[in-house]
Amino acid sequence: MRILKVIISALIFNFFALNANAQSLYEKLGENPKIHKIMVRTLELSMEDERIAFTLERSDLDRLAQLLTDQTCELTGGPCKYEGVDMKKAHVGLGLTTGHFNALVEHLQQAMREENISNRTQNQLLALFAPMHRDVVEK
């Protein structure tokens, strides 16, 4: 079975070769200028999505994009310090659901795609955001 061999090789390659890549996630995301662009675009797409636009209606989106950029930069090993509140405090009372959370993730994925971030790098960032589900989602 040739397909089997190809897929096994791909899995092994994935574990060893790509992990040897020394570039930090912060670098792979294109550092602050690109991360900021991605966050602005994520919020823009979110405002066009009636599933979640209402949650952001009264927010200062420029400020939020900057906070998201700082947070992402810090999380991925960049030279930044996030100075906003913790994730539980930031979202308390918004009544966010898993559906809301995933909607935002979908926009973040699209924003990263538009900036030609590789799928693998995208997932590495999502791996850092995913556990925040516990603090962000209330019901």
Partner: protein, 315 residues
């Protein structure tokens, strides 16, 4: 984007249906109607709607061979469909496996409830073709079985718990009932219906773009149950299902499955099953899984290798 895909798909759709329908049985007709229904089903945009498909694409898996949420041959701990803890999802699937001497097909429906419970029904049929004549049961004799499944997610969140090692864990059972009671008894099966019990653990490792899954299944099903259950000398034994998949994009997943099976019947040896597959999720309503499979020897007819195609439509 969705609109574009949909219009693109609708053009290609008619041709695709013609091609596939000429190969797959009349049962495909049923699925076609379900699919048309799904394509015209307005996508609910309200995040609170019961059918709002709040999960991320591909995270409900596809319908595996017994109708449960999983990959091609293995059951996963994920709950089928796109319902979150506040929603539900419904799927229809049709699967055809063209083997060296036989064809195996499966049609079914499954429901995911609040990302907690999964219920499934599948009808499987196994056409012996010319091998039927060699086996003395008549050319084209077709074995069939019904499978009713239930799965409950116990603990863990496969996608969100990226900071923990704990996988998502589910337990489940399949009730399998043969449609050919007299013949499977004549082949040496002890029972014409039976339960499988399983516990399944699935972990999405986003950092590696990997999905890993393992299932322990207590079963006495001969060839998934198509040749009855158990024999004069053997009953339930413990078997393993293992799956590893790589997420190339959110919509394109490829992986391998390995599944051990019982070897109960005296007249014919039974071996492990393997598959290498690619699943493409056109959107949250439609996915196609293609695979190369090796089901081992079946009913003395030598190694059964072949091609697996499965279409799943849902909302």
């Amino acid at each position: 984007m969705d609109e574009l895909l949909r219009s693109l798909f609708e053009k290609k759709y008619k041709r695709l249906v013609c091609i596939i329908r000429s190969v797959i049985s009349v049962h495909f007709n049923c699925l076609k109607f379900v699919m048309l229904g799904v394509m015209s089903f307005p996508t609910a945009v309200n995040a609170e709607g019961l059918f709002s498909q709040g999960k991320l694409i591909a995270t409900g898996g596809v319908s595996q061979v017994e109708g449960a949420g999983g990959s091609g041959l293995t059951t996963w701990a994920l709950i089928t469909g796109y319902g979150t803890n506040k929603g539900m999802g419904v799927n229809a699937h049709h699967t055809a496996v063209w083997l060296s001497d036989f064809t195996l097909q499966s049609s079914g429906l499954s429901v995911g409830l609040f990302d907690r419970v999964e219920l499934s029904f599948a009808h499987q049929w196994f056409d012996t073709g010319e091998a039927g004549a060699r086996l003395g049961i008549g050319e084209g004799f077709t074995f069939d079985q019904d499978i009713i499944g239930a799965k409950v997610r116990l603990i863990g969140a496969a996608v969100y718990d990226q900071d923990k090692w704990l996988p998502q864990i589910a337990i489940g059972a399949n009730y399998k009932r043969s449609g050919d009671k007299a013949l499977v008894a004549a082949l040496g099966a002890a029972n014409t219906d039976s339960f499988d019990y399983y516990v399944s653990a699935t972990k999405v490792i986003l950092d590696q773009s990997l999905i890993l899954s393992a299932t322990a299944r207590l079963t006495e099903a001969n060839q998934f149950g198509l040749l009855g259950y158990g024999s004069a000398t053997s009953t339930h034994t413990l078997h393993g299902e293992f799956s590893a998949a790589y997420m190339f994009t959110p919509k394109l997943v490829a992986g391998i499955d390995y599944r051990t099976k019982p070897d109960n019947l005296a007249f014919a040896e039974e071996q492990d099953a393997k598959a290498a597959y690619v699943a493409y999720f056109f959107n949250k309503n439609l996915s196609l899984t293609l695979a190369g499979v090796d089901l081992g020897t079946i009913a003395l007819q030598g190694k059964q290798r072949g091609f697996y195609a499965s279409l799943q439509a849902g909302f």
